[in-house]
Symmetry: C2
Subunit: 113 residues, 2 copies
DNA sequence: CATTTATGATGATTTTAACCAACATATAAC
DNA sequence: GTTATATGTTGGTTAAAATCATCATAAATG
């Protein structure tokens, strides 16, 4: 790359830990279902190496690889709830307590793109 | 790549939808906190382009980029709960109803690597 | 309206993800 | 113990991710 991708190469520990835990969870779910890494790989159109990387919690693997693995195991639903605006109490509070001044946004204050 | 990465290039619709929803959720959370794309990018050591891709729900962006964005917004916790073995009722059922025969695994039936 | 600010879009460049072959190893089955 | 199976490891290849510069555009501000 032209420059460094710090997130992907050396993520914050919390980020690294969370991804690794997700990978372990995926592995556990796969073993419980008695599927081989290759089975999951075939279902999503990836190689066994990529799925193995996902289970290892490799930060640089694509989001699609992780989500695909979850999908192959019937566990994709949980992902949609992550950062769910309805459950983001912090964000809701900040939005309601909005001061009159506002920095320039592209489309109003909220996202309605 | 040597060959096609179907998951990353053309994921199953359910996967694509889930990722896009996650991206929208991240965007909503960021706007509520009145942060710029560049703010999030700086916090995780990425360019504004990568964070923009995340908010667009680009499947090929790295897991670290997504997790990093969540982390920058204080929303990483939710990710660890995805595919939580304790909540994987399907998996737990399959494991308890295990037949005597078993295909070769690397480390027992469970993952304890 | 002019200015400033945040983001979108495009194209080029560099690094790296995804892939594969081949071999190693650990477990299960025979 | 031998064979078969599933996964780990390594090195090398290629396509794509991540980056950046630049310009375009939309919205808040003065």
């Amino acid at each position: 790359m032209v420059n460094k991708s710090r997130v992907t190469q050396t993520p914050p520990v919390a980020v690294e830990d969370a991804i690794q835990r997700l990978g372990r969870n995926i592995r556990t779910a796969r073993l419980r279902r008695r599927l081989r890494i290759e089975d999951v790989a075939n279902r999503i159109g990836a190689s066994r190496f990529t799925v193995a990387d996902v289970e290892k919690g490799k930060p640089g693997a694509s989001m699609a690889a992780y989500a695909g693995a979850l999908w192959a195991l019937g566990l994709l639903e949980g992902m949609s709830e992550v950062a769910d605006p309805d459950r983001d109490e912090e964000g809701k509070t900040l939005e309601s307590a909005r001061s009159p001044k506002s920095a320039p946004h592209r489309r109003r204050l909220d996202n309605d793109f």
